[in-house]
Structures are given as structure tokens and as C-alpha cells.
Symmetry: C2
Subunit: 428 residues, 2 copies
């Protein structure tokens, strides 16, 4: 039995979150404004957001897509912990706040200092000390979806930069540089596929960035948006970009790009991949016996995607003046069934019965509330489910249902049975 | 599209975790010893465990069962945060360490003190200030699966008492005492169903415990095990128990029990339900206009289940001298396919092909490793998947497959096609 969200449908009259007309006063980021207005998230404090039912559904779908692609890469899923011991981070010189500057630290009752994980290279490397001995135990690709804590000095970009946020992080453990590079290249393809499936494909570009102390470059996946905190220089022809932090004549030449073709743009980093070399395996002693029987350190890489950040980026890039606009792949529901003239008993009975049938094949949010049609349509536009299915006296008199596409605003009248058998996504 | 674990099958040769013969030296709890030996969890520090692939699958299945039952109760799923602001907890007098004694505290860069949530009454009550105004907005049942942090002085019971652990917590918001009590009674039935589905039904008893400052009693669901940290007095005829902390002649009389029928037993609290009255709604100002137009505070309840604790309890109660023994409902895989004589090309081809077919209908762990049969059987017993399916020269010569039940140790030879079409759970 696969594990799944048991709830396939929901009546809006029961949904506890409600839409608001006005933006919250303490938000400047469009993503947070819209998501709060539509009842997807709740702000606990700057950079710390709770996910309400609609928001959690989107987050879960993003997670589902990433999980599929990580499994396709040969990834094995685990779940590590937030609480971290000082010892392992001292071994790699990342415990001191002057070296890793966004720790949240805390203490056990006996005053032992602990940290809240900002990332998980150290603990996973330590776990593998138990399991990796020989070249036969490698390569390994291990990932998790885990809450990260980052003590950001400022946090005013909504869910684009959280102090507490859900992240997918995969770590690769390879036997040699070639095996590492092969996987690193495969991971790029996987990331492009993920951003494509998440609806960010057209706006997302691979970007050369600082490799830190580990390697010449790392690679970021940057999504173009004015809300982005990064500046990149994009060559639109090749689709390759350079992050401002490493932008120089040398780098441009090194990447065989032309300065005159590069366009300065704002973007948000939705993913990144890093070659880590042997920094962590040497720090923590993760060696393996190679085919010659010699002990050598494992070559590592790390591959991150922030789930809230992806969701925020989708809002920044795809929403319009009417509200949110979700790609079908991550919409909280596939269809928004709306009853107009809900006080007419016959219409309501018809809508209730259609809801039952529709729910058997699709994920449906049913706006069964006794409100004015205009209010319901405005709510539907704000919530941003890709298709609204409208039942009213008028549609019933024609024996049909109105299907409206959120993106184009276009609508068509269709036989109800046709919707039940063929769906609605191919009508536009 | 429902969200699911994409991986339905796994080859054991690829699984990075391995079994160990010897128990870890720093564990005294049977649950942690066995789960570590079988490669389900990794100890980060006392009371803090990472979940490896097999362990995470069990945890996910426990989550799936609880989610279904919470949705059946009318619950709406959300996800709140670990980081907590002081202000809201001061309003209910639960910030100070002398009043709530297991906080982990931390700080923002600007020295603002934050806490890591041990529970979530306060933040959820605050969220509902945005959404609850009238009696029409109630009742509400809202739940989450969230990591809790509890700064326990000691932690040596493995995953039975974690400092960081996954919990399901549901909160009810009712208009009056009757509505609250109706739901409270429904929640009891739901909890019994959950523990039944998790394989703990026979050993789990409703137990009267302290209601704290909120009400006369709260109710715990206590699972009998010597590993339990609680002492309860159980009346086996009625199935009702009293926690030692409230055990007295008065309470026995009040519950209409006979002292002579009560048996002192060790048990572990796998769930609890609390009537909270108006403590939190009054503290945070969560009122609603009732039908008479009068502002009154919401009546609340909370309903918890620790997922790691449930998993640990299953291990304590069901495992045997050979290792773990999972109920089918939460086993990491439904079947453990084992190839013996794996170096024989024909046998391997046959097993590989059967694995492909079997995986289309069942979740399968395939022990495809070139190891001695005895070693593979011992591993399978330690890992505890309910059914092993064994392919060897011998079974192939008879054109059948051997199906072995972990619990009874019994095995039968069956036609392969019969297993594919009818499964294996009804063979015993």
C-alpha cells in the first residue's frame, strides 16, 4: 500500500482558512502577501511560516515531484535530525559562529551545547562510517526532506528566505573524480527536469557560482524574478549564467562566453549543486578500501532544493493581478468546483452529486458556500487552482457545466459526463 | 495524483544500511538495540535518532495510518513551526523554564529569545484568531505531523522517549462542553482503531491520568510492556486502567472499579487526549460570537501520538529473540524476496524476473546479494518483514516458491503464479 494523502477532496465551507481582501501590513514580499491573503500560510515571525491546509498540499506535491526524481537518480531516502553535536562539526571546522555564521545554538539541561542543523554533510558522513568500508559499498546517493534552521540576520522575502524551512538535500559518495562527475552531470539533468515539472522550467538557468574551498565552481539553478536576492549575468543563447559573486573577465573567458551577450538580471536561487571533494570525508575519516586495497577518502557532493523557496518562486513568477496561479503539477487541487445559485435546492443537489462523482477521479475543492457568485469567483482566482468548474441555474438549464481556465480566463460549456470521462485540462 | 512514496521496491545489494550481529554498547533499550542492529535507525546522541531507509518507511506507514484516521475524524492537516516566540507562551504562563521544564531555548542574532516547540496549543490558537469569529466557524479539528523538541533530563529508552521526535498532534475547537465531549469520545474510538491497525490493539488500554489544571482526568493510551516508563493499574475485565500518578482509593471508587481486580503493570504511553477547557483560548483571546451574539471563549482539546514512540512500542511488544517482527500494516516492505544459490545464472535470472513481476503488485525488498543462505535468512529474521519468499535450486526444481511467515516460522511451497495473483498473506 503506497502512502498517500488520504483526503482527495474538501468542501470549502469546512476549510478553516479564509481569503482576505487586504494584504498583511508586515509583509513586503509578493509571495508572502498573496499566500497569506489566500490562506495558504501563516506568519509566525519574520522568516518563519506555518503551512495551512492549502499551502501544505502544495508543499507536499513539490516534495512528491522531487522525491520521484531523487529516486530515479538512485537516491535512498532517510531522515536526519535537527539537533547536532558540537564534536562532528568541530572536526570539519564548521562549529564556530565565525566560520558558519547562521547557527541557532541551544543547550541540554547539563549545559552541553547543541546546534540546529543548517545542513547535513557532517552527520551523514558520520552515519556512513558505520556502513562504508570497501569500494563495493559505493557509490551511494542519500537524501532527505528535512527542516533546516538558519539564523539569518534579516528575513523579509517571505518564504523565499526562511529561518526555518523544508529542504531536500541529497549527498553523493563516489569512489573517484570521474564517478563523481558523472553523477554531478546526471544531477543537473535531474534538476532541470524537476524545475520543468514545477512550472519554473522556462525561467530557470544554470548559473556558475563560487565553489567555496571545495572546487572552482558550484552550480546554482536561478529563477528569473525581480523578487530575487541574487544578481546573475545570463547568456540567453546558451542559457548559461554567472552569479555576480564570481563575475569577472577571467570567468567569462573561462566559460567561453561573450561579455556583450550577458544580461544583468535579478534571480532567486531555487537549487544548488556542490562538489565537496574530500573536505568532509577527510575531516570525519570516511575512507574506503579501493580495488588495490588502499584506504582512500570518499569524494562527496551535495545537492539542495529549498521547498518553500520553490513555492515562493512559483508565486513570484506565475501569479497575476488576480492572485495565485498554480501549475497543475503542484496545485492544491486539480479542480475548483463552484456552485452558483446554491440556495436553489435542485442546483445544490445536482452540484453535490457531481462533486461525489468528480472526487472519485480528481482532487476537488468544492466551493459549496452560500455566497455571491462574484465573491466566489474572486476567491477562486486568488486561490489559483488551474480549472474552475461552475454549476449554476444557467449551466443546468443547458445540461452542461462551465469549465474555466484560471490562466487564460477562457471558459467553455461542456457536457458533465465528458468532464467526468475526459477531464478538463485538454479543453483549452 | 495522490502523493506517495515513489519507491515500491528495493534491492538489498543497493541498500546502504547493513545488519550487525552485535548490539551497540551504548544502548540499554531493546527497541534501539534491535533497530540499530537491523539498520533502521542511527543514534546521533541520547534521545536523538536519524531514520535510515527501512526505519523511515515504517515511520511513514505509521504516519499514513494516523493521517487516514485523523481525516476520518474531520481533521484538517497543517504544518506549524519549531521556532516559537516568547510572547504567546507568556500569555498562557508556559514560557518560564520553571513552569514548562523541557524547553530548548535559542536566540536570534539580535538576541531575541526563541523556543523550540514542545507542543503547539499556543501557536495554533493564535492562528485561529485570524479565522474564527462566529459560531458558524466552529467546530474545528486541526492536526499536524511535526517534530517536537523536549529537553529531557535523561533519555535512555531508545526511541520511546526522544529529545527530538515526530508527533501527530490534533487540536479540537468546540463551541460548548457537549460538542467538545462528543468529539472527545469519538477521538477515543479513533485512537483504539489506530492502535489496532498499528498492531498494538491487544496490549493497549485506556488509562485515567491527571487532567492537569484543565480537567479532572486526561486519558492516556498505555501499551503494556516491561520497557514502559509508566506504572498503571489495570482492570482486565473492563480494560480500564489508572495511572499510578492519580491512583488512589477515591479515584478507584470514582471510576467504579474494584481495588482487588487491579493489576500493577509497566506500560508505555503511546497516545494521550486532553480536555483543555478555555485555558488557551482565554490566555490568547480566542473568542467567538455564539448564536445569541455573545462573545465566549472556545473550548479546546488536544490529542497526541508520538510516532517514534509507537514504532518503539511495536518493537518492544512484538519482536522476538530472532529480531524485529512487523505487523503487515507498517512493515517496511510487504515481502522479502530471497534468492538462494544466487551464483547459479538460471536461478538468478528466474529470481530477477520474479522480482519484476512481484514488484508490480507488492512492495518488495529483494535480497539479491551473493551471501550464504543462512546469513540471508538470519538477516531477514532480524529485519522482520512478515513474509519471506525464497527462490532456490530446490524450489525451482519443483516449479514453486517457498513462502515463509516470520511470525510462526512456518513455510509452504506454492506455485509462483498463485503468489502473484493471490498474494501470500492468506497462506497461513
Amino acid at each position: 500500500m503506497p502512502i498517500q494523502l488520504a483526503l482527495n477532496n474538501m468542501k470549502q465551507s469546512q476549510l478553516f482558512s479564509k481569503t482576505r481582501r487586504h494584504s498583511p501590513k508586515d509583509e513586503t514580499a509578493k509571495n508572502a502577501e498573496l499566500l497569506i491573503r489566500a490562506g495558504f500560510i501563516h506568519k509566525e515571525m519574520a522568516g518563519v511560516y506555518s503551512y495551512l491546509p492549502l499551502g501544505l498540499r502544495v508543499l507536499n506535491k513539490i516534495e512528491g515531484i522531487i522525491r520521484e526524481e531523487m529516486n530515479a537518480l538512485g537516491g535512498q531516502e532517510i531522515s536526519m535530525t535537527a539537533l547536532q553535536e558540537k564534536e562532528i562539526w568541530e572536526k570539519t571546522n564548521r562549529w564556530d559562529d565565525s566560520l558558519l555564521d547562521n547557527w541557532f545554538k541551544t543547550k541540554l539541561k547539563n549545559q552541553t551545547e547543541l546546534g540546529l542543523a543548517t545542513t547535513h554533510e557532517e552527520p551523514l558522513t558520520r552515519i556512513l562510517l558505520e556502513y562504508v568500508n570497501s569500494y563495493r559499498d559505493l557509490p551511494l546517493y542519500i537524501y532527505q526532506f528535512q527542516t533546516k534552521f538558519r539564523n539569518e540576520l534579516r528575513s523579509k522575502s517571505g518564504i523565499l528566505r526562511g529561518r526555518e524551512f523544508l529542504m531536500k538535500d541529497l549527498y553523493s559518495f563516489s569512489r573517484d573524480e570521474k564517478e563523481h562527475q558523472d553523477f554531478y552531470e546526471k544531477s543537473k539533468k535531474s534538476y532541470f527536469k524537476i524545475f520543468e515539472r514545477l512550472g519554473l522550467g522556462e525561467k530557470t538557468f544554470i548559473t556558475f557560482s563560487s565553489g567555496g574551498s571545495f572546487s572552482k565552481y558550484s552550480h546554482e539553478f536561478q529563477t528569473l524574478t525581480e523578487a530575487g536576492e541574487d544578481t546573475i549575468y545570463l547568456d540567453e543563447k546558451t542559457g548559461i549564467a554567472i552569479n555576480k559573486e564570481v563575475y569577472s573577465d577571467d570567468v567569462i573567458e573561462n566559460l567561453k562566453l561573450e561579455k556583450s551577450n550577458l544580461k544583468e538580471l535579478k534571480a532567486i536561487e531555487v537549487g544548488n549543486i556542490f562538489s565537496l571533494g574530500t573536505k568532509f570525508s577527510e575531516g570525519l575519516g570516511l575512507n574506503f578500501k579501493n580495488e588495490e586495497g588502499k584506504d582512500v577518502p570518499v569524494i562527496m557532493g551535495s545537492y539542495g532544493i529549498g521547498l518553500g523557496r520553490v513555492m515562493g518562486a512559483v508565486v513570484e513568477v506565475l501569479s497575476d493581478e488576480k492572485g495565485l496561479l498554480w501549475p497543475a503539477s503542484i496545485a492544491p487541487f486539480e479542480a475548483h468546483l463552484i456552485i452558483v445559485d446554491s440556495k436553489d435546492g435542485e442546483i445544490r443537489a445536482e452540484a453535490d452529486s457531481f462533486y461525489e462523482k468528480l472526487s472519485k477521479k480528481f482532487e476537488v475543492l468544492y466551493d459549496d458556500r452560500d455566497l455571491r457568485a462574484g465573491e466566489k469567483f474572486a476567491d477562486a482566482e486568488l486561490i489559483g487552482i488551474p480549472y474552475s468548474l461552475i454549476i449554476s441555474k444557467k449551466t443546468e438549464s443547458e445540461g452542461k457545466i462551465e469549465v474555466k481556465e484560471r490562466k487564460s480566463g477562457k471558459s467553455v460549456l461542456v457536457e458533465k459526463n465528458k468532464v467526468l470521462s475526459e477531464g478538463f485540462s485538454k479543453l483549452f
